[in-house]
Subunit: 334 residues, 2 copies
């Protein structure tokens, strides 16, 4: 059975953007792949090193979000990154296979450095995180990474490192992993920004209450060129209609088509469309909320899922490191 | 008992420069400190990643050099860096506590990059090695590092990281380590270059035969201003006299003083001084060679010293990581 590895930084609750970009694929692929979900606390520490409480507190939150969308803990393995020493070992070894120049050219790293470290003093660990992430992906000899489009440079780096490792040490220990992006790719924020992101404050969380969802939807950005309900409106690029396409079940297609036609013709107000969207989203979120509520009442169960998953993952990591040490001829005591 | 950590890259046999800079102190301090000697294979791989055989082959060599100079395996713990996963874990965590700018300012890294990577494509791992070395020093909660003067920037970085870690996570897990440089500091090469170094081809190895030593000494650089034996010569900065000061036993002091006087007065030829130096060096090296010969006949014993030492070191490393995880609040399953 081929393997999936993906995961989340425990820095906050997960939102609709995470669902569209990655969670949906995780759920639909969990029967087809041996799936590992990593709580990326070490990666979260690269820009939260002085706030470990935040990271710690969100370990259970992101795990519950994954369970809530329908990942089955009987099939899927959940683990915590910091408890797998072998990831750090591979990170250090992989750093030799990548040049400084290559890491600094990574577009995601470049963008994030510009956003997060305006004073120019960038923690070295932050620059290293694509290498670290390659170790995350490769230590399980992963085949597929369901993640957002912004993860493409990381997956490509992990392929480069896997190829270089295999060629340098004459081995085939690492398969070349592929990225699988969600059908809708990146989800726009409620404010019309290209990306839904906690730091932009334009998110709808998977754990939002029906009232919170309704409130956020009613204040959503739609078509800025449309002043009155009788003005013809744009459907393309309009976040409200994008969300309808992404989250409405198939049986709502004719209703949505009708709304689109009326919107374009200036025959429906934003309020009606938004009320409909709020209903659709709350129907979509209802079973997710219900599963989450069950896990919230039993945090010890979530901790046990993580504990057992981490144990299982460590056994796999030890296996990979045996192969790595052998290939690198540093298996002195084997 | 306070702790010493120091070590060597397994990239070749050790030479007189290593003895003067660090080995001599290791021997004289082994009763006073709990001493750990690291075979730094991971560090050696940063610029030998595509030649792991070289690294592997030299693991026993550097261990034997350490044993040969008189480190007692009953007192001193020898271990192999790559077998201690906790060092890699600390490296990854420490990278968050150092800025990119700071690492790039490290003078030793700067110099070595200029020397070793003339095409400008520097492995990321090479730039990271001061952070990695800080993890080497700190994972044993080391108090003292006997090493050469060129290691000062590394020990200073490890102090900075220890301070920042302790302050950030409100702990005192890491003492601030001190550097102890050998009495003679850096030893000049046989060619008069400021540093004895394998890559410069100006070394006398601890394992050289008496004939090799004599040959190397007879072709040593002395005083370039002196053409004939009757010209007055310079003793200061003259490698031959520096070696006499560094390696002759105290009972030779009056002979050396006499040679110096005659050398200054143009009353002794280079050949006489060099023959005397060769005798002194071979007398110094005789017991080292004898001990080395014993270990060379029993490589399994050396491997066993490394195996047991690595096991012991790992237990200490696990202890440190427990404290680190607790301080960082990532001790989820404790």
């Amino acid at each position: 059975m081929k393997r999936i590895l993906t995961g989340d930084r425990p820095t906050g609750k997960m939102h609709l953007g995470h669902f569209v970009g990655s969670l949906k694929n995780r759920v639909s692929l969990q029967d087809e792949y041996e799936t590992f979900i990593m709580v990326a606390d070490v990666q979260a520490l690269t820009d939260n090193y002085n706030n470990p409480e935040k990271v710690r507190d969100n370990v259970l939150e992101v795990t519950m979000d994954n369970l809530a969308v329908g990942l089955d803990p009987k099939k899927v393995t959940f683990f915590i990154q910091s408890q797998i020493a072998e990831i750090a070992e591979l990170t250090v070894l992989f750093m030799n296979l990548v040049t400084m120049e290559k890491v600094m050219r990574n577009p995601t790293v470049k963008t994030e450095i510009a956003q997060k470290f305006k004073d120019g003093s960038v923690p070295f660990g932050f620059i290293n995180y694509p290498v670290s992430q390659s170790a995350d992906i490769l230590f399980l000899r992963t085949h597929l990474v369901p993640a957002g489009e912004d993860q493409r440079p990381m997956v490509e780096l992990s392929r480069d490192i896997a190829e270089k490792f295999n060629a340098t040490y004459k081995t085939d220990v690492f398969p070349l992993p592929d990225l699988k992006v969600g059908e809708f790719g990146r989800l726009v924020g409620t404010d019309g920004n290209a990306k839904m992101s906690k730091s932009l404050g334009n998110t709808i969380y998977l754990s939002d209450t029906p009232e919170e969802v309704e409130k956020k939807v009613m204040s959503m950005y739609t078509d800025p060129a449309r002043i009155k309900a009788t003005d013809p409106g744009h459907v393309e690029g309009n976040p409200v209609f994008i969300y309808l396409d992404a989250f409405a079940p198939n049986d709502q297609r004719s209703t949505i088509n009708d709304l689109q036609t009326r919107y374009r013709g200036g025959q429906v107000g934003d309020i009606e469309v938004k009320k409909y969207l709020a209903k659709i989203l709350n129907a979509f979120l209802a079973p997710i909320r219900a599963r989450r509520a069950e896990y919230e009442q039993n945090p010890d169960l979530v901790r046990e899922i993580l504990r057992q998953g981490t144990e299982k993952t460590r056994r796999e990591a030890v296996e990979t490191m045996k192969l790595v040490r052998k290939a690198m001829k540093i298996d002195y005591f084997a």
